[in-house]
Symmetry: C2
Subunit: 143 residues, 2 copies
């Protein structure tokens, strides 16, 4: 996990969607975006119950495709995402949750200072396509 | 298609990811975001070839999960998305393409004035969860 999350090698999980399909989950992808800064926090999945719970509770609720259960974001970490609104795309096969983070951040990883990262897209793929680099100077962990 | 794209009924396609899985495509979801405004344009999918082509050509290339073929965005419509950078999330199971639209917009739908919409998330889900409303006044088509 450490290498996957903090390393500089591209190791994309191209089998992820096939695994979701094989598990039989009825989900759509959800892009979660900070309503004020516009930062993309992460992409996750929601089934119909997760969407209804999101609208009912005013907090981002998702479907965990790794644990195969409803995922009330922040329930254990405290990093709740308060809902501003849910949008749907033209073809109605994806969602956009516009949210405001109530806690430290939205990503479960921590930066060099030990704080949760605000969002999950903290590395870019270099032109070669084979390596990653950290986007912000301070984000890169000391080794 | 008209009702799905311009209507006010929630008709989410929760079977989409299962269909992708069943088709056996090795893809990850891609969030495409306007590099300057931060607007989320749409969510699509990329396989390894699409990612490599994106990095090689400097334009957003995707995998069409409806046509099951490489999708060079804008090749027919002219609405090319110039690449700024590709980012990867912590767990390396999704991508973020930061792009600059070179054409009219990123969505294939058209607003009331006949112009391509800039982005696909032009409707929000109302609190009931059953209906949609257009986000911007002018975007809603006249009937």
């Amino acid at each position: 996990m450490q290498e996957l999350e903090e390393g500089l090698a591209v190791r994309l999980d191209f089998g992820k969607l096939r695994a979701i399909g094989a598990a039989g989950a009825d989900v759509v992808p959800v892009a979660l975006q900070h309503a004020d800064t516009g930062e993309l926090l992460f992409v996750a999945y929601a089934d119909e119950l997760a969407l209804r719970e999101t609208l009912r509770t005013g907090r981002a609720v998702l479907w965990s495709t790794s644990r195969n259960e409803l995922w009330r974001k922040g329930e254990t970490s405290g990093d709740v995402l308060e809902l501003v609104e849910v949008r749907v795309n033209c073809e109605q096969n994806s969602l956009l949750y516009l949210v405001r983070p109530a806690g430290e951040g939205a990503c479960h990883t921590r930066d060099a200072s030990g704080r949760h990262r605000a969002a999950c897209y903290y590395r870019r793929i270099t032109a070669s396509g084979d390596t990653l680099e950290f986007v912000e100077e301070g984000v890169r962990p000391r080794r």
